[in-house]
Symmetry: C2
Subunit: 590 residues, 2 copies
Amino acid sequence: MYRTHTCGELRLEHVGQTVTLSGWVQRSRDKGFMMWLDLRDRYGITQLIFDENKSTKELFELARSLGREFVVQIKGEVIERVSKNDKIPTGDIEIQVAELTVLNQSKLPPFTIDDDTDGGDDLRMQYRYLDLRRKPVQQNIIFRSNLAIEARKHLAGEGFIEVETPFLIKSTPEGARDFVVPSRMNEGQFYALPQSPQTFKQLLMVSGLDKYFQIVKCFRDEDLRADRQPEFTQIDCEMAFVTQEDILNTFEGLTKHLFKSVINVTLADFPRMNYDEAMRLYGSDKPDIRFGMQFVELNDLAKGHGFGVFDNAELIVGICAEGQAANFSNKDIKKLTEWMQRPQIGAKGLVYIKLEEGGTIRSSIGKFYTDEQLKTWADKFGAKEGDMLLILSGEEEKTRKQLNELRLEMGNRMGLRDPKVFKPLWVVDFPLLEWDEDSERFHAMHHPFTSPKKADVDRMLSGDHETMKSLRADAYDLVINGVEIGGGSIRIHDRALQSRNFDLLGFTKEEAEAQFGFLMGAFEYGAPPHGGIAFGFDRLCAVMNGVNSIRDFIAFPKNNQGRDMMIDAPSIIDQEQLDELRLRLVDIKK
Amino acid sequence: MYRTHTCGELRLEHVGQTVTLSGWVQRSRDKGFMMWLDLRDRYGITQLIFDENKSTKELFELARSLGREFVVQIKGEVIERVSKNDKIPTGDIEIQVAELTVLNQSKLPPFTIDDDTDGGDDLRMQYRYLDLRRKPVQQNIIFRSNLAIEARKHLAGEGFIEVETPFLIKSTPEGARDFVVPSRMNEGQFYALPQSPQTFKQLLMVSGLDKYFQIVKCFRDEDLRADRQPEFTQIDCEMAFVTQEDILNTFEGLTKHLFKSVINVTLADFPRMNYDEAMRLYGSDKPDIRFGMQFVELNDLAKGHGFGVFDNAELIVGICAEGQAANFSNKDIKKLTEWMQRPQIGAKGLVYIKLEEGGTIRSSIGKFYTDEQLKTWADKFGAKEGDMLLILSGEEEKTRKQLNELRLEMGNRMGLRDPKVFKPLWVVDFPLLEWDEDSERFHAMHHPFTSPKKADVDRMLSGDHETMKSLRADAYDLVINGVEIGGGSIRIHDRALQSRNFDLLGFTKEEAEAQFGFLMGAFEYGAPPHGGIAFGFDRLCAVMNGVNSIRDFIAFPKNNQGRDMMIDAPSIIDQEQLDELRLRLVDIKK
């Protein structure tokens, strides 16, 4: 062992001991006859002292020659510091160095290895091994490891078995795009990397394994947004002989355990909201309920007063920004309106009604409505003097989505989205199917294995097209602070019902059989009722730390082009490899 | 919840309670007015009783209609059995069923769901979800889960951090064949699936993470033997600021913990043997030391007596099979000789010397050697009356390998390889490089990142070709009962030395830079001394259970053609998928 202690553990009680430490040179201060050097490892920083009067010239000169990030081993005596540093746990002591060995040298790093670095994103990704020396990044990776340990501990304690499912599986064009892997031994055929272990975990339930989990990598070949990665990690779970209620309780328990054990936050029981209500009150199936500002609909009050925009709108809906009447000048509102009109959101306009202190009402629609009328609107919002109403109108679905964006933005501006406050929410009763106007077909709202509610099974088996739109599923999402952390459903465990679902989703019998015949076959041999959930592990890490980017919690992430900048992958491969796989690259226009 | 209890937990103390159980119908016995039914789940079996006098006709008839593997839910009272079954933990009680619900039906399974099944390999693989209902298979999967839990618990307790390394990495033609993954977003380029996280874990050491582990899937596109899988699992570990001694101690600790906590076996301290000694005494770098039968060399005694086969042999070497003189007839020895002459082993012949009770010596070489001479041979073996010597000769390396096979076979025949006895062994001091006569180049005995021993560094940097063959590495294998369970090494952490190693392995500067430039670059920024080990997790499961096949411990294994028989993968993919990847399948002769 190159050390007797780490750089984080020495205290006053160790004074007088001779110790050996190894680590990296963080920085040094040279006072001519005295020199101090901060030695760093993942456990902390320990100050080393070199004293011209107490050490050989060679030792002193060697110490002076050390650069940042040199790796050294030292031996010396722990002594009490003259001027203590109460900012670090080892701040009471330092090491009077007697021996110094340079274990490795270092070139000057391309950015500073400090909590706040001067390195840009690309540079830090290229030298990720140096970025990972920075304490905040290292802490994120350690956080992730701790979270996984606690997740496994809790689930094992609840009787769950971790089962590894295969990575080389079969491509199914349904859903997102698969990464495929050419098979050398099976000419012309391909494996696919799993988008999730969905069918395997269901088969494990058919096997009677009853409580399954796995912390597992999943793969999606999607065009990447800032918060997506081509490979990501799920806490994947499935249970047999359970109802939705059992699953919600089990995984509410897991979530509470993780928050308590890892960040010492005690979560209250999670409220539940059905999908329709979430859409009506927040315009989103993942509402951030750290703050109110619920939607209020105004069709009854606003229509029929000669304001064409409202009269022709399918929906008029708004939010009340408490105490903001005085904070938003006309210019601010103009800017906010422009923000709403950006193509990403696409609102046509934004109506405001300020209820100023003293009773004055200022609004952009004063010529169509009397103050009296606008007061009845304010009453509907429960608004009071000093508040500001913000109102949108237009096609129903689009308008709700736009108002959701506005609500979140106002929440940000008003400081209502404290990253240290955690408000979990179960969103339940999702629709089973979603009608896609463009492709004129149904999509599975959750996935094709999701069960309709028991009460809807007969309607699903025999109903007409319109009936299908009204089916509700035993599907649920866990939302924390407006972020979808997990989602799941009770699954179909009956061949006929599964087959009907594939029909509705536009599969031919042949396609359904070729892709999922093994699963429907399994349903014929005593499949138990079952259901499950999957947590986005990367995202859970991010939310628990109050940050947006999952990349901070991945040791070696890829950039938005799916590239690993450090190892420079993907890359071209040898002709011989292509030959063995019987593949040729061709120029096909996309 | 579909149950109040599992099928494994009810005891006499529950008598009188009304319970709800769910599970599978294992079997039923119908006595006309009484019917018993075994209900099974993963926790056990509970007997249900239906009594014509105590239940409705409907209930009785419904019970009678149930087939094997039907999934049912029952409600009833726990009663004491009249005739108890002491073979199962629930054998004291049964359930007087009051309500019965069929949750799902089952077709007759293609093989019996029993400890001993009548299903052949292929059928069981195709219906793996049914095979997994069988208790021995289910127990293997649960064993694996427990082993992983204990491995993680122990390593986390030792301060190791589990870090997920990427699955989409870069192809490097060195070593085994990669599975590659075409990248849609990076035209003409491919990812590779990792054969191990080797370079990433080394970079984590450069990052200062200091103690890393991961239980992780790895991938090799090799022609499959019975005990290989294209995807397999490793307990992958790496430490910084350590010597070989530290690593051996740390992972000897892990191994002892796993054996104690999972199968309650206390392992004594592991002996160590260097590679040369292992090859000399056992003809193998993974000797099974549950039994002796060490090699004894006879060149000094056997040469120069006119027996041309020995006179011309590079090596004459044998083993002593204790007490086997009487057990092997001439016919048996003939058969054994033929077994040794099969192409898989390729021995030319087999010389035996029987030291029969009473002093008679019978041998196949009596006409070349006097009994007196053969007695000096026997003395060298420490053989006594009743023993049998088995001797091979020929080219040194080949002969040792053949004798290793013979020794293991004799160990099997003599019952010396008890699967309940565990004898771990560290094999150390492996050669760094291996000269390959065919390709006229060096191969890395462990892998290209392995460090030579400190004493050999200078010789490696400046020595000639012959010197390279004599370099020893800080490389080690953990062998248990003749199976290689783990292997690792101290790594190179110096750019110049790594570069020299790539030179020796036949890399051009450009190739080394293109493939491993990121690692050599990292060595320039303060790489600490480091080393690690990887355990074959599947194999560890098998060895701990005293079986040979790793497939038994994999939930969804692939067959020898790399196929998943259940989901029928790999398979052809859509033209659209090929187009998006700009790939064409072509007919290239291998």
